[in-house]
C-alpha cells in the first residue's frame, strides 16, 4: 500500500511511538488487535473449563497440543509472506506434495533423517521458484501461488498415482505420537515459532521484511534488497509447509495426495485473526499461533458442546470478519485521534 504514511519498521510500532496513555480507554485503544484475540482465547478457555467437564483434562489439552501444531506451522510460514505484502496460496498443496515425497522416500528404505532433509529441500525449492517468479518475472504473488496450488496438488497425485501411501516404518508415526514432557509436535511448533519470531524481531532481515511490506518502493529506495527479502519469505513459507507435511504424515501414519485440503485458507485465517494485515507490514508469530489455537479450540468446543457442525463453520467465518472489522475500526480511530 503506497498510501500508508510511514513504513512500520517493527511489529506493533504504534505502542512504542504513541505518547504515554492518559487513560485506560486510550491504552485499550492502542493495544494491538492480537491482545484482544489472546484475551478472547483465554476467556473461551475459561468458559469451556467452567461449562464442560471434559475440556480442562489432561487428555484434551494434550489433544489440543497435537491438533494445533501442523496448522500453526503452516500459518507461521504464510504469515511471513503476508508481512511482505505477499500471499502464499500454494501451502496446502505443498504440504500434500512434500508429505507424499517424504512417505515415498521412507517407503523406499531411505532413512528418516535423509528423507526429511530432502523433503525440506524440496519445500525450499518450491519457495525458490515462487520467489523467482514474483521478484524476477514480476508476476503477482496471488497468481504465482495460485498456479502452485494446482501444480503441487497435481504432482502429489502423479507421484502417488492417486493412492494413499501406507506401510511406513514405525519410527515415522512414533514422532507425532510421542511426548517429551509435552507432545513432540508441540515442541516442534515452539521451536519453529521461536526461530521465526527471532528472525522477525531481532534481525535486520526481519526489519526489512516489515519495511518492505509497509512500502516496497520506499524500502527499495532505502537500499533494501527486496528480491532477497522476497526469497527469504517464500522459502520460509514453502519450507515450513514441507515440515508440516512431514509432521502430518507422522501424525496420520499415511500420506494421502488429498490431505491438507484448503490449509492455505486456514493459515491465512489464523494469521489475520492474529493481527496480520493482508496489506503487508504487520503480523507476528505469537498472534498467528494464538489464531491457530483459537480455531482449534473452536472446533474442539463445537464437539464438546454439541454445536451443529454447520453452525461451527458460520461462527468461524463470523469471527474472522469481526476481528478484521475491529482491527480496521481501531486503526481509523487512531488515525482520527
Amino acid at each position: 500500500m503506497t498510501d500508508q504514511p510511514m513504513p512500520h519498521i517493527r511489529p506493533g510500532p504504534r505502542l512504542r511511538s504513541a505518547a504515554p496513555g492518559k487513560s485506560l480507554q486510550a491504552l485499550l485503544r492502542r493495544l494491538p488487535i492480537e491482545t484482544y484475540v489472546i484475551a478472547f482465547t483465554v476467556m473461551l478457555w475459561v468458559a469451556l473449563a467452567l461449562t464442560t467437564p471434559n475440556f480442562l483434562t489432561e487428555g484434551n489439552i494434550s489433544n489440543l497440543m497435537r491438533q494445533t501444531p501442523v496448522a500453526a506451522i503452516v500459518a507461521i510460514g504464510v504469515m511471513c509472506t503476508i508481512v511482505i505484502a505477499g500471499i502464499d496460496l500454494s501451502v496446502g498443496s505443498v504440504v500434500a506434495f512434500c508429505g507424499v515425497v517424504f512417505a515415498q522416500m521412507c517407503g523406499h528404505g531411505l532413512g528418516l533423517a535423509p528423507a526429511a532433509l530432502l523433503t525440506l529441500a524440496a519445500g525450499a525449492g518450491v519457495g525458490l521458484v515462487n520467489a523467482a517468479a514474483i521478484a524476477r518475472l514480476g508476476i503477482p504473488p496471488f497468481i504465482v501461488t495460485l498456479a502452485g496450488l494446482q501444480v503441487y496438488r497435481g504432482l502429489a497425485l502423479l507421484l502417488s498415482g492417486g493412492m494413499t501411501i501406507g506401510g511406513l516404518p514405525a519410527e515415522v508415526k512414533e514422532f507425532a505420537r510421542g511426548t517429551t514432557g509435552l507432545p513432540n509436535l508441540f515442541w516442534a511448533m515452539l521451536a519453529v515459532g521461536v526461530a521465526v519470531h527471532y528472525l522477525l524481531r531481532f534481525t535486520r532481515t526481519g526489519r526489512y521484511m516489515y519495511a518492505m511490506g509497509s512500502n516496497a518502493e520506499a524500502a527499495r529506495r532505502q537500499g533494501i534488497n527486496t528480491p532477497r527479502i522476497t526469497l527469504i519469505a517464500y522459502v520460509l513459507s514453502s519450507g515450513l509447509a514441507a515440515l508440516a507435511g512431514i509432521l502430518l504424515v507422522s501424525r496420520l501414519s499415511i500420506a494421502s495426495p488429498s490431505m491438507a485440503n484448503a490449509y492455505e485458507l486456514q493459515a491465512i485465517a489464523a494469521a489475520v485473526v492474529g493481527g496480520a494485515s493482508l496489506f503487508g507490514g504487520r503480523g507476528t508469530v505469537l498472534g498467528t499461533v494464538v489464531g491457530a489455537i483459537l480455531f482449534t479450540t473452536m472446533s474442539n468446543a463445537a464437539v464438546l458442546l454439541g454445536i451443529d457442525p454447520f453452525w461451527e463453520m458460520v461462527l468461524e467465518g463470523l469471527l474472522i470478519a469481526l476481528v478484521v472489522y475491529l482491527d480496521n475500526l481501531q486503526k481509523r480511530r487512531q488515525a482520527g485521534s
Binding site: T52, N54, F55, T57, G59, N60, N63, R66, Q67, V70, G154, L157, G161, G162, M163, T164, I165, G166, G167, K173, A176, R177, L248, R251, L252, S253, I254, S256, P257, S258, M259, A260, N261, A262, T296, S299, N300, V303, L304, G306, P309, F310
Partner: protein
Amino acid sequence: MMRKSLLAASAAIFALAGVTPASAEDTVAVIVKATTSEYWQWVFKGAEEAGRQLGVKVGKLGTPKDDAAGQIAVLENAAGSKPAAIVISPTIFEALGDPIAAVTDAGIPVIVIDSGAKTDKYASFLTTNNEAGGKAAAEAMATCIKERTGKAAGKVGYLTAMAGHESLDSRDRGFVEGLKAYPDMTLVGNRVANNEEAEGMTLTADMLTKDPDLVGLFADNAQMGTGAGASVAEQKLGAKFCLVAFDSDAGELEHLKDGSIYALIVQDPYMMGFAGVWYGYAAAHGVRLPRNVDTGVGTVTKATMNDPALAGLLDVSKRKLGPFVAN
C-alpha cells in the same frame, strides 16, 4: 460342446441385434467422479481388465475432483467421439440427468455406476446399496461390542465425511436404521468433516473427549476411517473401542491390521468398472440389461481379511475373478 453352443448363442444375439462384433477400434469410455481418488482408480482397474478380455479400448476419463460442470463437458466430449458405450458415475444426481439422457438419445448406451442420475434413459445402473452397507456397519459394531463386553450396549456415534452427498447420507441412514435393532446401543453424536483425514482424526479425539464412555464409532468413508483409525491408534484404544469404517484404502488397512479398526465395510468398485464395461459392450450389441444391479458389500475383519473371497475386495492386486458365484 458347451463353448460351441455359447458361441452360437452370442452369434445369434449379434445377428438378432443387427450389429457386428466389436472391432479392435471399439472404445468404451469410463467417466468417474474424481480421477484423484483411490476408489475410482480401482474402478479403472476393473474396467481395464474387462477391456483386455473383450479386446476393446477403455477410455479412462473424469475430472480430478468432484466437478459437475467439468464432468458434463467430459461426457459431451466423450460422446462426440462416438464410443461403443459410456460408463459413468454421475457427480450430482440432478445435474447429470439431462446430459446422460441426451447421450442415450444419440444412440450411445450409457451404463450408470455407483451413484444415480435424474433420468431413466440409461441401459443399466450398477451400484452399492449404501443403505445396506450402513446397516452392515451397525451389525458389525454390535458384534464387536458384544464380543468385548458381553452385551451389545453403550454409547456410539458416527463421522460423516461431507455434507449433502447422497451415497454418504444413505450409509449414515442405514447405520442409524441398523442401530434400532439394538435398543441398548444409544446414538450420542455425529460430526461432519471436510473429507480430510486430519480432520477426521481431530473429530474422533474430540468425540472421545466429550463422551469418554463411547464404545463405538462408524466412519462413513476411507478418509474418515483413516483419520479415526489414527486417533484410536494414538490413544491405544484398539482393544476396547469398536471402530467400523466404510471402504478400504492403505490407511484403513493398516489400522485393520493393527487392531484400531474392527471392521471395514467394503464395496466393489473393481466390479463396477469391470461389469460396467462388459455391460456397456453387451448393450452396444443389443443385449437388454437389468435396470438395477447391486454390486454388493462385504464386511471384513482382521480375522477374515485373508479369506480369498474378501482379500480381493481389500487389495485390487489380489483380485481374482470367478468363480461366478462369489466375489
